[in-house]
Each structure stands twice: as structure tokens, then as C-alpha cells.
């Protein structure tokens, strides 16, 4: 068992339990700051622009996108994979750190899970609209129909993907929600306004904190945590099979599933950093999300960045070592030193080189630097997906099929729209939901207290 002295304190400032509740709930009870409205306006206008572009996509058709016969997947799948990757952090944080008994997760898991739910929503929009006729979306459900019944193709990774994404959305949303029930009860019991009492009272599902409830709540978290761990790994592996089971150069590799899972956790952790640093700056959560929390995430990122670098180099090595002329051409003549060299090297430097700056404590301790690097990682991860999707499709086995791709304003607007949707979701989360898991934080707060010796060593996993 870790000793809190060795690991550093989990919460700063010797807070009492009621102080913890009050300070975390402050943004909900306080007057909404002006910057919040400003930010909401910006994100809603981005969202609105996205809606307009979606309208064009649906009313005119996929022809308004820059995709063509050779490069049939463009920004839509790039952004889909990117968002799903970001969405992986929430569950990775909650589950892996829960299994590894990392108590510092309690300050961050709620925000990470919120991010997951919104990011998966954003992701799901892309395949939905890429169908061209989204109102026939229900064709993908295996339901008894009048066309045979003709069932869907259970051998297709695209169907696996549909199942995985829907399951992931439902599971992460319910895991997130049930984690919040005790905190909603805290708001209900501490709020002064009647409306807040009624609204949060409804959402708290009549939670009282009795031993019967806690007993089952813990069993529930245990079950959901255990099985969702499998899901984290499987969902992005399935996304990877969308590529890996095809016979395209650069996609047809067995490294893809683990490489995608690691990449997803990488971009997700980076986005978590972006988010928690914003929370610290805007809501003065420094006592709960301490420098040590940021430090810990940054150190995890160094490790994942090394894995990413290894994966990139493994791919390049295998392209050469396999002796396959197509693979060699793809990696050396298209990606490394060809038409898409800029994208490749942006990806490589942003994901495998720049995060190595986190080795330096001076970098990890400067919040603005951590913030900038976390953004760079997310840009790098976007380029990774661009690199995978576009380069492989643009250089087919038949040179007659070779094509270039550039997005139209509709695709760009669609992407900006999902960014706006994500920001709107995050802002609403900041304003209306306790952004740190209060009850979980209280359960670890005692490890910082001096009367620790009196207690039996209790674990809260």
C-alpha cells in the first residue's frame, strides 16, 4: 500500500469535509462569471456553424465534401477517430487508475468522464452523417425487418464499430451519472434555493448516504469498473480494425489495435490536462487539483509518448523489413519524404518528441508550458489520424487511382461544429455539475489528516 507521505498529499489546505463540499460546489452556487457567458457564446456560434454545415451535408449530399472515389474517407473519419480517442481518457482514468489503486484519480475522474461523454457524442455524429441518408440510420440495427429479414453483416468491423460506440456511449454515460448521484444529494442538502433543491433532488434519485446504498453503490462501481476496463481496450481496438482488416498499404498491420488504444489514451490524457488546467485557472481548484496531480499526468504522458514513438518506428521498420514494395513506398516515398512529409513529421514531433520535455521538472511545474504541450499533443494526434487515413487512400495499388484530398468548408465547418459542441458541453459541466467527485474526494481526504493513526487502514476501492 502506498503511504500518503511518500506519494505527497492528495488535497492541499487541511480542509474539513464541509469545506470540500462548499469549495467544489462554489461554481454552482455562485453568480455565473462573465467569461462563462462569453465562452458559451463563442462555442454556441461554432456549434451553429456546424449545424449549418450539417444541414448542407444532409440536404445537398456528401458531394459537398472534398472526398472522392479514391479517398472516400476524409475529415469525417479522421475527426471520428480523434474524438473517440479523446473520449477514451475518461474511462481510462476512472478505471485503470481505480484498478491500479491510484487515489489521486479522485480529483480528476469526474472531469475526465464528462469529457468522455461529450467527446463520444461528437464522434458519433461523423459516421452518422457520412451515411448520407442519416434518417435510414436504423438499418444498422439487427432487427426483424421486411427485407428478408436481411440481417446486418456481423463480420464487418463497421458493424462492430457501431456496437462498440453505442455501448461505450451508454456505459460511460451511466457510469458517470451514477458516480454523481451522491454529489447531487449533497447539492440538494446544502442548496439554499428551492429550485436547486428540487432539480438536484430529482437527479439525486432520493440518495441519502445510508449504509445500504453505499454497500450496493460500491458493488456497482466494482462491477462496472471491472467490465468497462475491457471496454476501453476493445472499443479502440475495434476502431483500429476498421482500418487493419482492409487490404490497404499502411493499414493492413497487426500493430494497429494496440497502437490505436495507446494513441487514444495519449490524446485523452492530453485533453484531460487541457481541461484540468483550465479548471484550476478559472475556478481556483488548485487545492484539489494540485501541482502533483498535473505532474503525475505529465509523467504518464512521457511514458505513453515513448510507446507512441516506438509504434511509429516499428511501423517504419516493418515496412522496410517486410520487403513489401507497396509498404516501403507508402512509408518512405509518401509519408516520410513524400507528398505528406509535413503531416508525418508534425505527427512525429508533436507526439513522440515534444512530450519528452516532461522529463524536466521545470517544464512540469510551469502550468502554461504543460497546457501548451497538451494542446500540441492533441494537434499531433489529429495529424496521426490524417496521416493514416489520407496517405494510404491517396496511393492505391493502381497508380491510375492516385488522388489528392483537401477538405471543403463544409467538412471544416462540421469539425468546428463538434469543437463548439464539446466546448458547450464542457462549459455546462463547469456550471451545473460538481466538477470533482465530492464523496470520493472525502473518502481520500482522511489520508492527509494527522489523526490517521487512529484509523484502521481502510481502502476505498
Amino acid at each position: 500500500m502506498y503511504n500518503s507521505e511518500v506519494r505527497g498529499r492528495l488535497i492541499d489546505g487541511d480542509k474539513s469535509y464541509s469545506q470540500i463540499s462548499r469549495e467544489i460546489l462554489a461554481p454552482i452556487h455562485a453568480k455565473t462569471p462573465l467569461w462563462w457567458y462569453g465562452a458559451l457564446l463563442v462555442s454556441l456560434s461554432m456549434f451553429g456553424w456546424g449545424l449549418y454545415c450539417k444541414y448542407i451535408t444532409v440536404s445537398t449530399g456528401i458531394g459537398t465534401w472534398g472526398v472522392n472515389n479514391s479517398i472516400a474517407w476524409g475529415w469525417a473519419i479522421i475527426n471520428f477517430v480523434w474524438w473517440i480517442g479523446i473520449g477514451h481518457a475518461g474511462t481510462a482514468f476512472s478505471i485503470f487508475l481505480l484498478i491500479l489503486r491510484q487515489k489521486w484519480r479522485t480529483s480528476i475522474n469526474r472531469a475526465a468522464e464528462a469529457m468522455t461523454v461529450v467527446a463520444v457524442f461528437c464522434a458519433a455524429l461523423f459516421p452518422l452523417l457520412h451515411m448520407g441518408r442519416p434518417w435510414l440510420f436504423f438499418f444498422i440495427f439487427p432487427y426483424p425487418n421486411t427485407r428478408g429479414p436481411l440481417w446486418v453483416n456481423f463480420n464487418s468491423p463497421l458493424f462492430w464499430d457501431f456496437v462498440a460506440i453505442s455501448a461505450y456511449l451508454l456505459i460511460s454515460a451511466s457510469f458517470w451519472y451514477f458516480g454523481m448521484v451522491p454529489d447531487f444529494a449533497t447539492i440538494r442538502d446544502t442548496a439554499k434555493s428551492k429550485i436547486k433543491k428540487a432539480v438536484y433532488g430529482f437527479f439525486s434519485f432520493g440518495w441519502t448516504g445510508s449504509s445500504r446504498e453505499w454497500l450496493r453503490f460500491e458493488a456497482l462501481s466494482f462491477v462496472l469498473g471491472g467490465i468497462a476496463a475491457v471496454l476501453v481496450v476493445s472499443v479502440h481496438s475495434i476502431v483500429a480494425t476498421d482500418f487493419a482488416v482492409s487490404v490497404e498499404t499502411g493499414w493492413h498491420t497487426t500493430i494497429f489495435p494496440p497502437y490505436f488504444v495507446v494513441g487514444a489514451i495519449f490524446s485523452g490524457f492530453a485533453m484531460v490536462l487541457t481541461l484540468v488546467i483550465t479548471m484550476r485557472a478559472m475556478y481556483k481548484m488548485n487545492d484539489f487539483i494540485t501541482d502533483r496531480h498535473v505532474d503525475a499526468i505529465a509523467r504518464v504522458l512521457i511514458f505513453i509518448s515513448l510507446i507512441m514513438g516506438t509504434a511509429y518506428m516499428t511501423e517504419i521498420f516493418m515496412a522496410w523489413y517486410s520487403g513489401s514494395e507497396y509498404e516501403t513506398y507508402m512509408f518512405f516515398r509518401t509519408r516520410l519524404f513524400g507528398e505528406y512529409a509535413v503531416q508525418f513529421w508534425t505527427m512525429f514531433i508533436a507526439n513522440a518528441v515534444i512530450p519528452q520535455l516532461f522529463w524536466f521538472k521545470a517544464v512540469r511545474r510551469r502550468m502554461w508550458m504543460v497546457f501548451v504541450i497538451s494542446i500540441i499533443i492533441n494537434i499531433g494526434m489529429w495529424f496521426e489520424r490524417f496521416n493514416i487515413v489520407v496517405t494510404s487512400l491517396s496511393r492505391d495499388y493502381l497508380p491510375a487511382n492516385w488522388a489528392s484530398y483537401s477538405p471543403t468548408y463544409v467538412e471544416i465547418g462540421f469539425f468546428i461544429g463538434t469543437l463548439g459542441m464539446f466546448l458547450t458541453g464542457v462549459l455546462l459541466f463547469f456550471r451545473f455539475i460538481p466538477m470533482i467527485a465530492i464523496s470520493e474526494l472525502k473518502s481520500v481526504a482522511k489520508f492527509d489528516k494527522p489523526n490517521n493513526g487512529k484509523l484502521k487502514p481502510a481502502t476505498h476501492e
Binding site: F175, D189, T190, G206, T208, E213, L215, A219, K442
Partner: protein, 165 residues
Amino acid sequence: MSKNYILGVFDDEATLVDAFEKIKAKGVLPVEVYTPYPVHEILEGMGNKTRITHAAFFYGLFAAIGILGFLTYAAVIDWPLRYGGKPFNAFPSFIVVTIVATILSITLLTLFTFSARAKVFPGKKPEIFHPGATDDKFVMVLDKESLGQNAETVQAIIKEHGVVE
């Protein structure tokens, strides 16, 4: 709150557990204990057991069998189609959907079980003995009648560190 109950209200986990164990040694079990976060000594001491984990296992077992059965029925028996030279019963590629859909079934069914067994559901009116129990108070609820002649001793134990309300 009510005439029939006495509440022992504590400020932290250690004093609550201490009083809980002393009272239990007198042969008195509180009706219920309310805490801001799960306290394992209390959860064990109250003697309640939960079988949610067992239920989840069986949900998973039946879901997996059901889903695999459905996939086999749909793709092999009802309307077989040959995709990419694979046999009708392309068993390995059914596994992916089976795993993910099983996880989904376990999650949803376990959530409903939790909701039903812990009686936590939308629209429920909470029975609040002490409003601080979700914030910073550790509250023990004792039934006055069951105390009998222990009433005074129990009150004294509570007063060592806590407050009687």
C-alpha cells in the same frame, strides 16, 4: 427528527466507527448509518450483504449465450450470406460483438438491479434524518424502543465524541 429515534451525530469517520463498535458490543445495532462516503467498517458491521456482483456474473453469462445464439441464428440459420469467402458460421468474428454487447447488457441490468435493490430511482423522496449526512456529518440512527435498558449507556457512548439529537 422523530420521537422514536435518537441520532448520534459525529464529525469524522474514526469517532463514528469507535462509537459504532462500542454500541454493537452492547448488543444494539443501529437502524441505519448515514455517511458522506462509504465507511467499510460500518458497511461490514451493519451485516448487510449484497449479491450484485453475483447477479452481474449471471447477467453476463446469459447475455453472452443469448447474443452468440442470436448471431448464429441470424447469420447461419435464418439468412446465410457468404461474405468474402468466410464460412456462414464465421465464429471468431461473432466474438467481438458478443463481448461488447455482453458488457453493455451487464452494465444496464446491473444498474437496474442496483436501482431496485438500493431503492435509488428517479422521483424518489429521500428520507432525510439529518441534512448534514451527505455533507460532513456521520449519522447513526438508533431505534429508541430496541435500546431498552441500554439507553443511557448508548447515549453516553455517543456523547464521548459526538452529539445526541
